[in-house]
């Protein structure tokens, strides 16, 4: 038990931030991401004996998180629609100086672009860009073929590319 306690404490330090960021991308809501990450670490503690070291601890945590997101989505779909996500849900990571305001706007717009993606594409984005998991492993995690991963990534990339191109166009006009 003592050993498990230290393992989870170490995992939280090593992977906590990355996991909650990936979950924020996946769910579009930071508070929900924190809730899920908390439950993920608790579940990981109680099921640590099942971890066979065949994958990285982060992948193990991500799989638990993915199942939790799916379960929540199923239970939420039975309830009335939740509160609509607000634009300012992503607080500014920067202090007030003007030079950062433009950058903050860019990030807010990027998060809006991510929220406009379908849940499947958001999951791919969180796995590929935030968690930096290779395509082959993403396929294993999601239980889909490598080709499907590539096709979803292609669609997500295309939608986000439009945002990046627009941003760069804005940048040259400023």
């Amino acid at each position: 038990m003592e050993r498990n306690w230290h393992t989870i404490e170490t995992w939280m330090k090593l992977y906590g931030d990355r996991l909650v960021r990936a979950l924020t991308i996946m769910t579009g809501n930071e508070e929900e991401a924190q809730d899920i990450a908390q439950e993920v670490f608790l579940k990981a503690y109680h099921t640590l004996e099942n971890f066979r070291h065949k994958s990285s601890p982060y992948t193990y945590l991500y799989v638990i998180a993915l199942n939790m997101v799916r379960t929540r989505k199923r239970s939420h779909s039975k309830k009335p629609a939740a509160v609509q996500l607000q634009e300012n849900e992503y607080p500014s990571p920067y202090p007030s100086p003007e030079s950062h305001v433009i950058q903050h706007e860019e990030h807010t717009r990027m998060m809006r672009a991510v929220r406009n993606l379908s849940p499947k594409l958001r999951t791919i984005v969180s796995l590929f860009y935030i968690s930096e998991i290779p395509i082959q492993e993403i396929g294993k995690i999601l239980g889909i073929s490598e080709g499907t991963v590539k096709s979803r990534l292609f669609r997500a990339r295309n939608q986000l590319k439009q945002f990046v191109v627009q941003e760069e166009h804005h940048g040259t006009n400023r």
Binding site: I8, M12, D17, E30, Y45, H46, M110, M111, R157, L160
Partner: protein, 99 residues
């Protein structure tokens, strides 16, 4: 990774870099709480399934023994009665069949 991927990744990462996992203490506290459950609670957690299994075994045994005790006074057991005994028909049903 294509160049566009690097750009997307860069913007995404800077968009979420301010987000940090802030529930470590809550997780550790909940783990401690779950590990220090009262021993009586744990005792009941272990003993409950054992009692359930023991009760099930007793019920099944009494049905089987009851069936045998009804059938045996006949002397010889007919083939159809053997089927009844081994299939674990309830005592009341068996009594009805024998009468």
């Amino acid at each position: 990774m294509e160049p566009i991927d690097n750009r997307i990744q860069e913007i995404l990462n800077t968009s979420v870099e301010h987000i940090t996992f802030n529930r470590q203490d809550i997780v550790l506290q909940k783990i401690s709480e779950s590990d220090t459950k009262p021993s009586s609670k744990r005792f009941y957690q272990i003993i409950k399934p054992l009692v359930a299994v023991a009760a099930a075994v007793m019920v099944i045994s009494s049905i089987s023994l009851g069936s045998i005790s009804i059938v045996l006074p006949h002397g010889t057991i007919q083939p159809e009665e053997q089927i009844i005994v081994t299939s674990g028909v309830s005592f009341a049903a068996l009594q009805h069949l024998v009468q």
